[in-house]
Amino acid sequence: MSKGMIRNLLQRDARADRVVPPTGYTAHLTLFVSGAMAFLAVFALALSLASGRLADRWASELAGAATLRINAPADQLAAQTEAALAVLGQTPGVASARALTTEEQAALLSPWFGPDLPLDTLPIPQLIEIIEGDPGLDATGLRLRLGAEVPGAVLDDHTRWREPLVDAAMSLRRLGWVSILLIGVATAAMITLAANASLAANAQIIEVLRLVGARDSFIARAFVRRFTYRAFFGAVVGVLLGMTGVLLLPEASDEGGFLTGLGFQGAGWLLPALIPVLGAAVAFLATWTAASRKLKELS
């Protein structure tokens, strides 16, 4: 299909478009299907983008940090902490390392044990926050050295739980894109059915057009234009409703976690504008294919 043919197909020709009666249930079906699918596509897109952001954030935030836990008797805790900080200070790839204060450790525990926890009476391990440099640290090498010099030290480089979380977020993003793809395929299938029904219902009109010398391309154009414009306008309405729904979602917050971040950010708000264009393209291809096949059958 050449560019010229596509331009001809999309050019408005009110008189030529009138050869096909304007009414029929296929008109409503196409509008409804493209609207509903565009509405769903907005949410699938929002889910996919939010998952992507989450995966990126988790990957970058957790990848650049590690935690060292010192499990030692109370009388050795300070000494082992000092020794660990000394080791970290000499380790390549460690940008900074600092022991958390008692208040910071209490703040970390308070969501589980409440604010009145008597930390000084409990054998709480000392935590050391490590910020990695570029390139990152060699976790295996550091563990070996700490094992020799600070026997109570346990290094947690977050790999254990960072990777499943990032994998889950990436899977969710993939799911979003697969949903968009499925929405596109379902739209194409529904519009193909509607176009076939319309072509079959107008078989007598097609016969008359052929008798007066119409080429298949002329007949197909009349149907393709109509379905493409209907799909476009249906999708515009669906996108507007979907965007309204996304706008009404609660704003992103730490308390709400992932669910409240399910929206668009920055230039992402422009992406749904592509949905009507893609919907029209899908309708164009689906109707053109259906019309070509049906006209061949009717010849």
């Binding site: 009138r18 009666p21 016969e207 057009l209 052929r210 007066v212 010398g213 080429r215 298949d216 010849s299």
Partner: protein
């Protein structure tokens, strides 16, 4: 111009036409007669490519019709104007839009002038019915509108299938005069009709060749008509 050579046409196991040979020369005028069901419409459909011969050769404008693809068949039909017995209009469009349909499908609608269209409709006596819809027309008006649509592209050949089948004597004479007038402009005309009085009436107006379909064959009719 249109030439059938030993053309046979079979449908549903039965042979409707058998070894028909026929030539439509440029500027000639033909009547095709025979009883209902004899195969007049089938022969006309073969002439404009709506049906293809089961055997034999069918040439139109020096092209083998059986070998034409759908696009070339469309171009062929623009050179043959057809008046169908049931007129075949698009009821949701006005009379003028229906008559202009061949211009539209051939991409000439932009250059066509509304005055020319009005003139053509006035020629067939429908100048005042431009904006009417086909269901609002009488039988005679429909036939005349169909004739206007058939000739709007100035085709080389005009085929008319029982054009006077649903109209009174006066209207049938009017339609005949229009077809004779077209023939005098140089168009080849073939009228399929079972109305012998129409053929007799035409004798005084035009040099017509009368063909009769009988027993699946086409023969030149005798002087008894």
């Amino acid at each position: 111009m249109i030439e059938l050579e030993n053309v046979s046409y079979t449908y549903g196991g039965g042979e409707l036409l058998s070894n028909v040979s026929l030539q439509l020369q440029p500027g000639s005028f033909h009547f095709l007669t025979g009883p209902s069901g004899a195969g007049k419409t089938t022969l006309l459909k073969l002439c404009y490519g709506a049906l293809l011969p089961t055997s034999g050769r069918l040439n139109a404008f020096e092209q083998d019709v059986a070998g034409l693809d759908r696009d070339h068949m469309a171009l062929l039909r623009r050179r043959i104007g057809v008046v169908h017995q049931d007129c075949r209009f698009l009821d949701h469009m006005t009379v003028s839009e229906n008559v202009a349909l061949p211009l539209m499908v051939s991409g000439q609608a932009e250059t066509a002038k509304r005055e020319d269209l009005s003139e053509l409709l006035s020629w067939v006596g429908l100048g005042a019915r431009l904006d009417a819809h086909p269901p609002e027309l009488s039988g005679g008006e429909r036939q005349r509108a169909a004739l206007a649509r058939a000739v709007i592209l100035s085709p080389d050949v005009v085929l008319a299938d029982e054009p006077t089948g649903n109209v009174d004597w006066e209207m049938s004479q009017r339609l005949l005069r229009l077809l004779v007038e077209l023939n005098k402009m140089g168009k080849t005309v073939l009228i399929a009709t079972h109305d012998l009085s129409l053929i007799r009436a035409a004798k005084s107006q035009v040099q017509a060749r009368v063909l009769r379909i009988s027993q699946r064959q086409v023969q030149l009719a005798g002087a008894d008509l």
